[in-house]
């Protein structure tokens, strides 16, 4: 039975009617950890990639390391290669400013980009582990299940660095594969993490 209001069908067949405009940014999953090695979206603990969306957005909220000075990274995998070791070519540039107010920079960071590497992509470097220190950011991944194109990603975020710097990171690149991606994992280069990552699909 449909639900019709003022001549407009709002609900029918167990769902909101297709003629009703609904939000195009859909929260798919939220993972919050207090002391974990990885935050992984792979279909086991949290939802992985599917062809349902042409873009995914991850919101990283107050990611906090257990060990000071670790780098925060991510990698992706496929159903046939679950080891999170896809080939990445990327750019990475940073702006930073210290609390003392005497050091600033905007520069390419050659030590944090990747060139046809299967290593994890660094998003933040040297994150502070004091109680109030953390990092936040947004990662876009476009059409991860394409079997035609490489998969582009774009990231922007900011962190509290271990030596009391604010560092804004801008990372982008592509996973150089035409195999569909179905999983992603976020982790520190050493030690565990606390924090929340939210996964959205864009209709």
């Amino acid at each position: 039975m449909g639900v019709i209001s003022n001549g407009t069908t709002l609900l029918d067949a167990g769902a909101i009617d297709s003629g009703v405009p609904t939000g195009a940014m859909v929260l798919i999953d939220t993972v919050t950890v207090t002391n974990a090695g990885n935050i992984t979206f792979d279909g086991s603990l949290a939802t992985g990639f599917s062809s349902a969306y042409k873009e995914y957005i991850f919101k990283l909220i107050d990611i906090h390391p257990a060990a000071t000075g670790a780098d925060y990274t991510f990698q992706v995998g496929t159903s046939s290669d679950t080891d999170f070791d896809q080939t990445i070519t990327s750019t990475h540039f940073r702006a930073f400013h210290n609390e003392a107010g005497n050091t600033t920079s905007l520069a390419y960071s050659a030590s944090h980009d990747l060139a046809q590497s299967t290593s994890a992509q660094i998003l933040f470097n040297g994150v502070g582990a004091e109680n109030d220190e953390s990092c936040v950011g947004t990662l876009h991944i476009f059409d991860p299940t394409s079997t035609t194109f490489v998969k582009h990603f774009i990231f922007s975020g900011t962190q509290y660095q271990q030596s009391d710097y604010a560092i804004a990171h801008h990372v982008a690149g592509y996973f150089n594969t035409t195999t569909a991606l179905d999983r992603i994992t976020f982790f520190f280069s050493s030690g565990n993490q606390a924090g929340t990552i939210k996964m959205y699909g864009i209709k």
Partner: protein, 209 residues
């Protein structure tokens, strides 16, 4: 008749009263054979680009060119697409790295900005031409703020990543304004050389309430 649950009005007068999300998909255009332009014109083909939303967001998924020669560009119209020639002043910067790890940089792109230019605004390409190998493409997004204002200029911000024809990854950030107080009611995308071979263009409206 209103639908009320636990004293909360869920729907009334033909619309939901509760929030169903603030980002609304307005239009998707999928290019599957070569096209010279892709246009979003208010009032045409179900496109809304007026005062309905204060912010509009275009998404670009795997835009693939027909040639190794150029990049994606945009222009805007104040006469529902009769002319795409709005004056724009903009900034444009890029970060790039080649797959061989021998050439990396972040730079301002003086060839990609505009100073009251009425021609197209480069979103990708310029010194980096988009690659047209079968697996090469560009993806990104473009925000257009308050296009229906008749008081203010119209700001735009875009961000892309692309495969360069020489096997580079190339990030480009563009921002600026359409220097007009006329309402902008259409946007057109094209390649600076050749056609758009394939790709998905999406237009969203961001609600203000």
């Amino acid at each position: 008749m209103a639908i009320i649950s636990n004293a909360t009005t869920i729907a009334d007068a033909g619309a939901f009263s509760v929030s169903l999300g603030s980002m609304v998909l307005i239009k998707t255009i999928t290019v599957s054979s070569a096209a010279g332009t892709v246009s979003f014109v208010n009032g045409t083909s179900s496109v809304v680009l007026n005062n309905t939303y204060p912010i509009y967001l275009f998404k670009f998924i795997n835009i693939h060119p027909s040639a190794d020669d150029g990049g994606l560009a945009v222009n805007f119209s104040v006469d529902t697409g009769s002319n795409y020639n709005v004056a724009k002043t903009s900034t444009n910067f890029e970060a790039y790295a080649d797959e061989g790890d021998s050439d990396v940089a972040v730079n301002y792109s003086t060839s990609g900005d505009l100073a009251q230019g009425t021609g197209v605004q480069h979103l990708t390409g310029i010194s980096s031409k988009m690659g047209y190998d079968n697996d090469q493409s560009a993806s990104g997004e473009l925000f257009l703020f308050n296009p229906s204002s008749t008081t203010f200029v119209k700001h735009f911000i875009s961000e892309f990543n692309q495969s360069d024809y020489r096997n580079y990854t190339w990030r480009r950030n563009v921002a600026g304004y359409c220097n007009t107080t006329s309402a902008v009611d259409a946007a057109q995308f094209s390649m600076t050389s050749g056609n758009i071979d394939s790709g998905i263009f999406k237009l969203y409206g961001i609600k203000d309430s």
